[in-house]
């Protein structure tokens, strides 16, 4: 990072608000084949969505006078898509979450430090999105398609010795978070 405050930054912890992971409402995402040099409000529902046409050969739309071709892409199985936004620093709301919560074990007892702890929450979730190509459907050779195959390979390359299987949540049936020795041993 180019900031001079490097050492401080490497200490940061950005806590995910767990509730937002199951509370977030569905989000609609389009991956565009161009860089829009802005992060801002955009009337997608007025300008873009109504202009999408389903052709025999995929989806059609145009943006800024250029023709786009698109396809729906599903999030790889076992994964969920989230849109996440960090909370503004002021006030450090949610500090109380860490006090006296019973089910986080001793691990989370470390005190929060104003400078180093921050929060991030999901504002939306998705299980599919639309990938757009400039004039041609991105297709299987598009890098993003390749990228989506990574999670399947990751387990073998750098995954832990016994990966949690889906829904294999240690927290589901127990109040505390015990280790998952039994499951690990059996798998």
């Amino acid at each position: 990072m180019e900031s001079g405050d490097e050492s401080a930054m490497e200490k940061q912890r950005v806590h995910v608000r767990p509730a937002t992971l199951h509370d977030s409402s569905p989000a609609t995402l389009h991956l565009l084949p161009c860089e829009v040099l802005a992060n801002r409000f955009a009337p997608v529902g007025r300008f873009f969505t109504p202009a999408i046409r389903q052709g025999a050969d995929g989806l059609h739309v145009s943006f800024r006078g250029r023709s786009l071709r698109g396809e729906e892409v599903s999030v790889p199985p076992g994964l969920t898509g989230y849109v996440m936004v960090t909370e503004k620093r002021e006030g450090l709301i949610g500090k109380q979450d860490f006090r006296g919560s019973e089910n986080n074990g001793e691990e989370a007892q470390e005190p929060l430090e104003r400078g180093f702890d921050q929060f991030i929450g999901a504002t939306g979730s998705f299980s599919c999105f639309t990938v757009w190509g400039l004039e041609t459907v991105p297709g299987p050779e598009a890098k993003v398609w390749g990228a989506l195959t990574w999670p399947t390979l990751a387990a073998a390359v750098c995954g832990p010795p016994a990966v949690h299987s889906r829904g294999d949540s240690c927290c589901r049936f127990t109040h505390r978070c015990p280790r998952t020795e039994n499951q690990r041993a059996s798998s």
């Binding site: 801002r40 390979l153 750098c158 690990r184």
Partner: protein, 325 residues
């Protein structure tokens, strides 16, 4: 008469933003798009906290990288990011530049511990783990010590001694290479199962029938798997692993290249040594992956915002305005 612009920011639009970010005056906070294992969602119902992004040392580069740490499930996740030029997102009623897509995948913490064990191993003595896993730059590395079954894991890469009920560890290259060899063969199997094209030359699936893919040599698979795993270990260890696996040197001139980069992967080596083998796809790959020069003003500006975004993310500065270019 109200114009498009004014109405576009009308109250009804703002209302429909519920699932997106707030864009009060048109500008939005940076939105990160993530793919995260589903089970974390289920787990999150029962946990109040314990899921956090932290910066730890990337065992390959030695530089900082973002990881997701789950105290509750006691798991570590690597974060890879899809980053290709000329993308942006429409997220509900907003636009997000960059078009980044983050992947959180479970990761074996040993890769991260190895970084510290190898360092400590140079001293040649047995040490307790909490003395080994210490980092002034990345103090969050101590969280790794909270992961389950560390002792069991460490047996793969260390010699251990127990004195007065306290365990002492010493890095063992021999054991580590054996452990990595297992990872390589595991990866080879996964590469085959996923039909990954490991051939040296042709990268475009269009020129590749499945027959050709299946005719890839075993050696190519091992080399490829070695290359992949090398992205998770220090370079020296990668070289040792290559020898340990008895990987023959490639036809392209590989031995003792002057630059570090040349050694790490077979493919770029070829590309650099012999531009005639640089097919268009390669060029594209290189082009798209390289960091930007500052030449194009507008773009550079945005990219900088992207790179600087750790500020925004970690909240050092609250970037209010995404400057208009």
């Amino acid at each position: 008469m109200p114009g498009v612009r004014r109405r576009a920011r009308g109250p009804e639009e703002e209302g429909s933003m519920a699932a997106g970010a707030e864009c009060a005056d048109g500008d939005c906070p940076r939105q990160h798009v993530f793919l995260i294992p589903e089970y974390l969602k289920d787990a999150s119902k029962k946990m109040k906290n314990g899921l956090m992004f932290i910066k730890l040392v990337n065992p390959c580069s030695g530089e900082g990288a973002i990881y997701l740490f789950n105290m509750c499930l006691k798991q570590l996740f690597e974060i890879k990011v899809f980053k290709e030029k000329h993308h942006s997102w429409f997220i509900n009623e907003s636009v997000q530049s960059g078009g980044l897509l983050h992947f959180a995948t479970p990761m074996d913490p040993l890769f991260l511990l190895l970084h510290y064990l190898i360092k400590a191993g140079k001293e040649g003595k047995y040490q307790p783990l909490d003395q080994v896993v210490m980092d002034e730059v990345f103090p969050n590395c101590i969280l790794l010590l909270k992961l389950p079954e560390l002792e069991k894991l460490l047996r793969h890469v260390t010699e251990e001694k127990e004195i007065d009920n306290k365990k002492y560890y010493k890095y063992s290259k021999e054991k580590t290479l054996k452990w990595l060899e297992k990872k390589v063969s595991q990866t080879v199997a996964a590469l085959k199962a996923n039909h990954v094209n490991v051939g040296v030359r042709v990268q475009s699936a269009a020129f590749f029938s499945s027959d050709q893919i299946s005719s890839d040599k075993e050696e190519d698979f091992i080399r490829y798997a070695h290359g992949l795993i090398s992205d998770y270990i220090p370079k020296e260890l990668s070289d040792d692993l290559s020898k340990y696996l008895k990987l023959p040197e490639t036809s392209a001139p590989m031995p003792n290249p002057p630059s570090k980069r040349l050694k790490m992967s077979d493919e770029p080596v070829e590309a650099k040594e012999d531009y005639t083998k640089f097919n268009t796809k390669d060029l594209k790959t290189e082009k798209k992956n390289c960091k930007m020069t500052a030449a194009q003003k507008a773009l550079a500006k945005v990219d900088k915002t992207g790179m600087k975004s750790i500020d925004a993310f970690f909240g050092v500065k609250n970037k209010k305005k995404f400057e208009k270019i």
